[in-house]
């Protein structure tokens, strides 16, 4: 079992969701997040004064998957989120120790799927 965490551009979320659905990945958590990486931020002009905004708005996606779904999930995220520009985001894959469905008490692979 793996937990896939991705930070993407907010405006790509619709495309990413579409790509995930096409790969039959339907379970997803999305949160707003602020952050910056290589892309240092952007400029806003407020009442004539330029202002550098250091933290950019990103969307954080978390998807817990069984091992046989890892590759296609990653592929789908890239397909939806990639524009080729700086700021497209990153994907982290972490090994998941356990997963429990609260309602039934199921654990492991069946709880994820």
């Amino acid at each position: 079992m793996k937990l896939i965490i991705a930070y993407i551009q907010p405006e790509r979320l619709t495309d990413v969701k579409k790509a995930l659905f096409a790969e039959e990945v339907f379970k997803i958590s999305v949160t707003n997040s602020l952050g910056c990486g290589q892309q240092k931020g952007f400029h806003e002009v407020y009442r004539g004064v330029e202002e550098e905004v250091n933290l950019l708005k990103k969307v954080r996606i978390e998807i817990a998957v069984n091992d046989n779904f890892v590759d296609r999930t990653i592929k789908a995220i890239i397909q939806g989120a990639k524009s080729g520009n700086i700021g497209d985001g990153k994907i982290f894959v972490v090994t998941l120790e356990q997963c429990i469905r609260i309602r039934t008490g199921d654990t492991g692979s069946s709880a994820i799927g």
Partner: protein
């Protein structure tokens, strides 16, 4: 205080109320769009009134009220430079703006009052083209509607043009202001195409919810309040007080009934009393009663409002079904109900209140109904087709729509480099 003074005060105070409707439009539209486009919509509302002021002063007033032919005004075209001895009225009037020689107030009072109406027509469109039109292209459109389209249709009905000659009555502008603005909005929405994600492949519609319903509600209340200047003020005189009292009562009754009837329709149709539709219902009633407010009884006003509230709901559903994306319902409120309001004069109107013929339901036959229908459809058709061409030309030259990336990211940052709610976390992922 003499009569001229009283009437001028009345016209100006009413004009100030109509000006305040700009704030109403700004709030309604800001509330009904997403947070990422709120600055953009506010900027459009602010700038279209500024541009309308310049255009209407430079050429609009002359085109609309100058003496000329049945199509447009010719004399005193530029910068109100025609002769005019207002507040003289009737036969004592000497000047080139004789279409308004029945109003015993100074020229600049007339100009100010008509100007805030021109601004209203211009600002209606911003809702229909919201969340995707380029800011610069919107400014170009504003020039055209306030310098050309609105004054010409206005001349036809209020400036002694060919529709006035036929006996079309549009008291405060269901057609001249609202249907003209709404039809221009429809043209814009068609040329622009729907917002990304609004319609699915099977042509079904998705919800793109407005981001601040309380703000939209404030806007509706401001518009409702402003309408008490829009309709009663269009008398441009206090008279003996009878007409402006009737008009005020009629305006309010139609709005209240329309809000209620829209609410009931949504309650039955969608199982919930929809707040945004009830608000649109109120506005629909106000638009509809604008033409007939001086010519009908309060009971007829209630009937006109009842129909308006039902119309607006089915109209919104209809435009969604043919995939024309109008984010705030401007076409349904202003064009559809502007047409209905103008036609309703021919159904409910009374000769005893100043019409040339009684309406159909008052035994006057079909004459007034036919004239009203021709009147409103002429105005709508002119505005729609003229603006269709204008938007096409803008699209082919400087471009009409922002690119996909900017639309998804939001026009606030893309067009203005500024957020509406800095330091708040807003989902811009839709």
């Amino acid at each position: 205080m003499n009569q001229v003074g009283i009437d001028t005060l009345w016209a100006l105070v009413a004009g100030f109320l109509v000006f305040f409707m700009q704030a109403g439009f700004a709030m309604v539209e800001a509330g009904f769009v997403r947070a990422k486009n709120a600055v953009n919509i506010i900027m459009k509302n602010l700038l279209d009134f500024s541009i309308a002021t310049i255009c209407f002063f430079a050429v609009g007033y002359g085109l609309m009220f100058g003496d000329g032919n049945g199509f447009m005004g010719i004399h005193g075209l530029w910068f109100l430079n025609g002769a005019d001895n207002s507040p003289a009225i009737g036969d004592a009037y000497r000047g080139v703006y004789s279409a308004l020689n029945w109003a015993g107030i100074p020229l600049f009072a007339k100009f100010f009052f008509e100007l805030v109406f021109a601004g209203t027509a211009a600002t209606i469109v911003s809702g229909a083209v919201a969340e995707r039109i380029k800011f610069s292209s919107y400014l170009i459109y504003t020039f055209i509607i306030s310098a050309v389209v609105y004054p010409i249709v206005g001349h036809w009905i209020w400036g002694g043009g060919f529709l006035a000659g036929m006996g079309v009555f549009d008291f405060a502008g269901s057609t001249v202001v609202h249907a003209v603005g709404g039809a221009a909005g429809l043209a814009g929405a068609i040329i622009l195409g729907p917002r990304i994600g609004k319609y699915n492949k099977d042509r079904s519609a998705n919800v793109i919810a407005g981001h601040n319903i309380p703000l939209a509600a404030l806007g509706v209340f401001i518009l409702w309040f402003g309408w008490f200047g829009f309709n009663p003020g269009s008398t441009l005189s206090v008279g003996d007080g009878v007409a402006i009292s009737l008009i005020s009562a009629n305006t309010n009754i139609a709005a209240a009934v329309a809000g209620l009837s829209a609410l009931i329709v949504t309650w039955i149709k969608f199982k919930k009393p929809d707040a945004s539709m009830a608000m649109n219902g109120v506005l629909a009633g106000l638009v509809a009663i604008t033409a007939p407010c001086a010519f009908v009884t309060p009971l007829s006003s209630a009937m006109i409002g009842l129909v308006a509230g039902v119309l607006v709901v089915f109209s919104v559903v209809f435009f969604d079904s043919i995939n024309i994306d109008d984010p705030v319902g401007a076409v349904s409120v202003h064009m559809v109900n502007g047409i209905w309001g103008t036609i309703s004069v021919g159904l409910f109107g009374l000769k005893s209140l100043g019409l040339s013929h009684d309406g159909l339901f008052n035994g006057g036959g079909f004459h007034q109904l036919m004239v009203q229908t021709i009147g409103t459809l002429s105005g709508v058709a002119f505005s729609f087709f003229f603006m269709l061409i204008v938007f096409k030309v803008i699209a082919a030259t400087v471009g009409l729509r922002v690119d996909r990336h900017e639309e998804l990211k939001g026009l606030d940052v893309g067009e203005h480099g500024m957020e509406a709610y800095s330091e708040f976390q807003i989902f811009t992922s839709k």
